[in-house]
Symmetry: C2
Subunit: 138 residues, 2 copies
DNA sequence: CTTGAACCTCTAGTCACTAGAGGCATTACA
DNA sequence: TGTAATGCCTCTAGTGACTAGAGGTTCAAG
């Protein structure tokens, strides 16, 4: 049994974030000492590692709640979990696509002024002022 | 001179968002009718288009405030504006990199269970529970 | 047994909006 | 000119996923 600080160190999740996860129902309410401090064991550690890993992969708290529920019903885990992962993948791909368009636009904008440190016709500002100067959608 | 609703239609920025931008100092305080309603002209329209375009490109409100300030000092506009754009570009590239790593991981996870609709050893859940199953950093 | 670090709860702040309540202004039409 | 519909006003509170701080209690080491 170890404290919330120890759990924090082992999982690299900050202490207030652990309490927040508990409040959100991601973590079961921890056992307490007589003095009301939280104590955790291996189970808590594994659960929090799972949560952290899912968050790192961009899953929302809501999605993680679903995944946890699925964990508790192994009979229908796989399909549901795979669906959630695929939906997450779709999101990620959409974001990548959008960011790539932005990247191209920003490269073009940044290059405009290169060299002439001072100018009244800044290309960055001109591009922002007039969307027609953009080469593609974003 | 036109109303906030008209401005909203022309720029595709929602009415409460326009008011929010005014409060944040991105838009100058609009003129008012005798009945206290906001009225805008071409200048307001251009400024809001600029803001919307910058937001679409992912610039923060703070960054936009800087860009607007630079617009008002044409002598030092270009360098400052280009710096802000480049910093934005760096951010965007970092995000893309991270998302690509996530994409690969999610593809791998999603594929694990394909075919066997029901299984106790769901690959998605197993992967989330044990980071060691991941093939690369994220 | 004392000290200091770690813990507790609670409230409020972050960013960039969005939603809703309750009330006044404007406009279109009869 | 009357009235009804629509649009506008301000203000407060909510979103997601935390983070920061105040003010107080408990634990573990020496």
């Amino acid at each position: 049994m170890f404290s919330i600080g120890e759990l924090s160190k082992r999982t690299k999740v900050k202490v207030p974030t652990i309490r927040y996860y508990e409040e959100m129902g991601l973590l079961a309410e921890a056992e307490r000492t007589s003095g009301n401090q939280r104590r955790y064991d291996k189970t808590g550690l594994e659960r929090l590692s799972f949560i952290r890993h899912a968050r790192d992969l961009g899953f929302s708290i809501e999605a993680i709640l679903s995944l946890i529920e699925l964990q508790e019903h192994p009979d229908r885990s796989c399909q549901g979990a795979t669906e959630i992962a695929k939906s997450q993948l779709t999101d990620v791909r959409a974001k990548i696509k959008k960011l790539r368009a932005l990247e191209k636009e920003l490269v073009r904008m940044s290059k405009g002024c290169e060299g002439d440190g001072v100018s009244e016709d800044c290309y960055v500002l001109a591009s922002l002022a007039d969307h027609n100067l953009c080469h593609r959608e974003h």
